[in-house]
Symmetry: C2
Subunit: 276 residues, 2 copies
């Protein structure tokens, strides 16, 4: 959620500090420094003064005890719950991701919002190899702070180090990932930031550009997951454009489907685009 209509070229850096279970978001500042893990990726298209970094200074007393969210449920439980009105579409999305993403994968949260998707993705990719990465982005400061806070509360320092947060437009997501790297999942949660300013929301034009970027980046066997909210102004039009984007993908290489409520017209629609 919460990508502003106009995507500026300036990226914002988030530097923060964890003390015990407290999240102390210390500083937002512009910086010419790229993320330490993927510095090479900034050489091809992002100017130095646009680069972003996410740094974590850790002084947690016991970071290994931070697993305070429940493990993923499977699709049997989640999908059946959804069909009987007991689970949300976002939970179905997470259960689908669980079947696609593997430890050590590179994944992208195109709209980190309050961070629940980012956290869910981290759970799927994190292991001792530390190869996995979640590239998560949003344009709203509130969204980044909220995500950062959730991650700090929920993750060990090692896990937290596998998430890179960017204040940027998701149309630029290709700038973050090393060229040729296999991206297993790109997730979109469209609309506005829950609890935030409802006037600031994703818009069809940039969403479609971001979907084109996601399509170029995705590995075979990968998934683009879009949760489209249709109840707010412009939401249905955006969903219909996403639907059209999916409908036009060649069936030889792509499988595009949607899971949609029929008697709750304002319920979000889950669009899933898989690369064969």
């Amino acid at each position: 959620m919460a990508i502003m209509r106009l995507c500026p070229n300036s990226y914002l850096s988030v530097t923060h500090k964890i003390t015990g279970l407290q999240n102390n978001l210390k500083l937002f500042h512009f910086t010419p420094r790229p993320p330490p893990l993927f510095s090479s990726i900034f050489t091809h298209s992002v100017a130095d003064n646009d680069a972003v970094t996410s740094q974590v200074e850790v002084s947690s007393s016991n970071p290994s005890t931070k697993h305070n969210d429940p493990p993923f449920s499977g699709l049997d439980e989640t999908m059946t719950g959804f069909l009987f009105g007991k689970k949300k579409a976002t939970e179905v999305a997470h259960a689908v991701w669980k079947n696609v993403v593997r430890k050590g994968d590179l994944v992208v949260d195109a709209t980190c919002g309050n961070g629940y998707d980012t956290l869910a993705m981290l759970r799927l990719i994190a292991d001792d190899s530390r190869r996995g990465r979640v590239f998560a982005m949003d344009l709203q400061k509130d969204a980044l702070e909220s995500t950062s806070s959730l991650l700090d509360r929920s993750l060990t320092a090692d896990e937290r180090g596998l998430v890179e947060l960017y204040a940027m437009c998701h149309t630029k997501m290709e700038d973050l990932v090393p060229k040729g790297a296999a991206v297993r999942l790109v997730a979109f949660n469209l609309g506005y930031l829950p609890g935030g300013d409802k006037k600031i929301k994703t818009e069809s034009e940039t969403t479609l550009l971001a979907l084109e970027a996601a399509k170029r980046m995705l590995a075979r066997g990968g998934l683009i997951s879009i949760l489209a909210y249709v109840g707010h102004s412009g939401g249905r039009e955006e969903f219909e454009k996403v639907e059209l984007f999916a409908a036009e993908l060649a069936a030889d290489n792509w499988v595009c489907s949607k899971l949609q409520m029929l008697n709750r017209p304002s319920a979000p629609v889950l669009v899933l685009i898989s690369k064969k």
Copy 2:
């Protein structure tokens, strides 16, 4: 599949005999005798000469060894396979049913076609209690013969005894089930009989009447499962009417959803209607 447009009031009885793994479909004849297990249900609306029975004479040498079809897969495997083009919508439907139906339940196959749904349902309800029943119906003789043959090849005599096959219109399904009995699942596989005469197919008018009947019969926690084929003449119109039927159900008591391919416009659509 394969309910003719006009639903006659005459029902056809199927009597057959199993010898080893062979299916010998011996006789189709009209009979005044109701099914032995639910004879009382025929007193309220079905004339004696309309009643139907399905009798099995068994001389199988080793009926306990007939489990030659694989067990059900879960939704994690099936749904993910569907999303990547490796599983069919009908397999997703079966995996959904597995999470809804319990041993000993009463279930209805409204369009038995070649019998794969009937067999899948039997697997879900059969246990030593012998309380469960599958009421399966079709109007086409070819469909009933095909279903009967599949069941005879695949089931033990005890299991086969839990399936009742009827040559009747699914608009009359309420006549089969004892009044007040809890029906957990009513499944529709719309369109024409695969391998049969494509001119004989389900039609919107009777499908909607059958859905109304299914709605009246369904237990809380039960499911109406409709696989709508949209690639043949009239198929899309029928699907749209089913969709409208679902969309108009009160959200307080019903959860209606659909799983639909976006870039394969003629792929079947799975509509799932759950009673809270």
